[in-house]
């Protein structure tokens, strides 16, 4: 039961990450390959403030949201004018740079590679309430994202993706909307990062590598691009599938490589047979 609650909480956290990633990748067409950097900023800001400076968890989480939104905006600023393919490469580079920053400059608790010992308030202290609260937050994020994409702003975002020139001709600057959505997604991702730290109890730099960013892409790619339901579906299905791997009695050292190989197969199969994912509305091609 404890493990199921833990899994449920993780699923809720990744749903928030996937929702944010789908906003930028699926709806706005910005190929983000470094989302792990913003998860890391959220997790590190929350954990550092709470553990090392004794700041209240909610305050620390809010600071994490603001910090990751800021970091997202600042990292996007120089990348705004480059084309989509090089953009993907550049965000991937951003991920590597942030990994080095976490590893070399990230604060750590004496005697470990990372941070542990979060002081969690009542709503997060035990696994049951933590699951309920995180799920509620994820649900609120899903509703918010759905509201955004169904609004006129959502239409502008899709136009930014499909016809940026036409949008510019209407007097709306596509770069402005890219910046807005990227910053908002950064804030959501940072929120998820803070919740991730609360779920795992321990964070270290190895959680925020390129592998994590690829995982996010796989989630939304399988579930479906430009679809709120797709973000949720991808995370739930893949986590369930991953967990079922534990029960077929494989030696534990093979579980990690098997998952990695499975993600590889999924990426190839998706790109070959169903580029929009299970319930997606957008076909990523160039």
């Amino acid at each position: 039961m404890e493990h199921l609650l833990y899994l449920g909480t993780l699923i809720a956290v990744w749903i928030i990450v996937a929702l944010a990633a789908n906003l930028v990748v699926g709806y706005t067409g910005m190929m983000a390959m470094g989302q792990a950097a913003y998860i890391g900023v959220g997790a590190y800001v929350t954990a550092t403030l709470n553990i090392l400076l004794g700041v209240n968890f909610y305050l620390a989480l809010s600071a994490a949201v603001i910090a990751s939104a800021l970091v997202a905006a600042i990292t996007l600023l120089p990348l705004l004018r480059i084309g989509s393919f090089y953009f993907a490469l550049a965000t991937l580079g951003v991920n590597f740079v942030f990994f080095d920053i976490f590893r070399n400059l990230g604060p750590r608790v004496e005697g470990s590679e990372g941070l542990y010992g979060l002081q969690l308030p009542g709503l997060f202290a035990a696994s049951g309430p933590r699951f309920a609260t995180t799920l509620a937050i994820a649900g609120a994020c899903a509703l918010l994202c759905q509201r955004i994409v169904a609004s006129p702003l959502g239409r502008v975002l899709r136009a930014t993706r499909d016809r940026p020139d036409a949008l510019a001709a209407l007097g709306k600057d596509p770069r402005r909307y890219r910046m807005v959505v990227w910053t908002f997604a950064g804030a959501l991702t940072g929120l998820a990062g803070g919740l991730y730290a609360a779920t795992l109890f321990y964070i270290d730099p190895t959680l925020f590598t390129l592998d994590t960013s690829i995982l996010v892409l796989v989630y939304i790619g399988v579930g479906g691009l430009a679809s709120t339901a797709g973000s949720v579906l991808g995370v739930v299905l893949l986590t369930a599938f991953n967990e079922s791997l534990r029960f077929i009695g494989l030696p534990s050292q093979y579980v990690g490589p098997l998952q990695e190989a499975m993600y590889g197969f999924l990426l190839i199969a998706l790109m070959t047979f169903r580029r929009r994912g299970l319930v997606g509305n957008y076909d990523f091609r160039e």
């Binding site: 190929m31 120089p78 990348l79 004018r81 480059i82 989509s84 393919f85 090089y86 993907a88 490469l89 550049a90 580079g93 951003v94 590597f96 740079v97 990994f99 080095d100 920053i101 590893r103 070399n104 690829i214 892409l217 790619g221 050292q253 093979y254 990690g256 490589p257 098997l258 998952q259 990695e260 190989a261 993600y263 590889g264 197969f265 999924l266 990426l267 190839i268 998706l270 790109m271 070959t272 047979f273 580029r275 990523f284 091609r285 160039e286």
Partner: protein, 286 residues
Amino acid sequence: MAASLFQVFSAGLGLAGYYALVAVGFALIFATLRIFHIAHGTVFIVGGYVFFSLHRLLGLNVFLSAAAGIGCAGFAGLAIDKIVYAPVLRRGGGMFNVFIASLGAALIVEAGFLAWTKGVVSVARTDMLDIVIFDNVALRIFDIGILALVAVAFTVLYLWLHRTNVGLEVRALTDNANLATIVGVDVQRTRNSIFLVASLLAGLAGVLTTYDAGIVPSTGFQILFIGIVAVILGGVRHILLGTLVGATCLGLLTAFAGFFFPEWIISITFLIMIVLIIVRPQGILG
């Protein structure tokens, strides 16, 4: 101090040799076929591990094992093109879809080697390498051999590109792929030659690295990303000269950065890439 700086300089040139061998194949494939071949790093480790298994585990002669490793790498490169890229392209996938599928292929093979080696470094040599000393600076005969090999490989490549019919077709594809097809270039045959040549070179680099410093499954990704930065640095349209310039710069840079601040090597490499993408995407030679 001067002597030790010169020592670092020579180590950097040795590294540049490896980078150049990997980067030139990547550049060849990217410039002619517009395929962002992430799995080129996979080809590199296939060569390395075949060589390691034959030479170190089965005790086969070093040159025979090296030839087998390079051959298997060539075969792996062709196989990835046929099994992964061709179906994606046939079903109407674009450059971006091939890129993601390539990432998938790389993940699968890396996972396989990870399950097999459990992440332990595989080094093929068992003894120390000979050195020669000039004025306090120790040069390894092996490094000098690598530079000689690189010189030979690039000369052969130059002759292939500029003195043979296939080479002419390859250059035609670089300049204008559509026109080349119209005037009757056999794209499929040219494509096979390109993948074969590029993969053999990556296999050679893999064998050399495995002999000297050793590899882990993730080495493929690392060296490939450095190769990509080298290609962008030198300029994609100058396959041979651009790669040599880019690889030399990056080899020296990694050596000096590794000497002064080793923990930031990855960040520095990727920051250079990002800055280049923003400021001068066509590379130094333009």
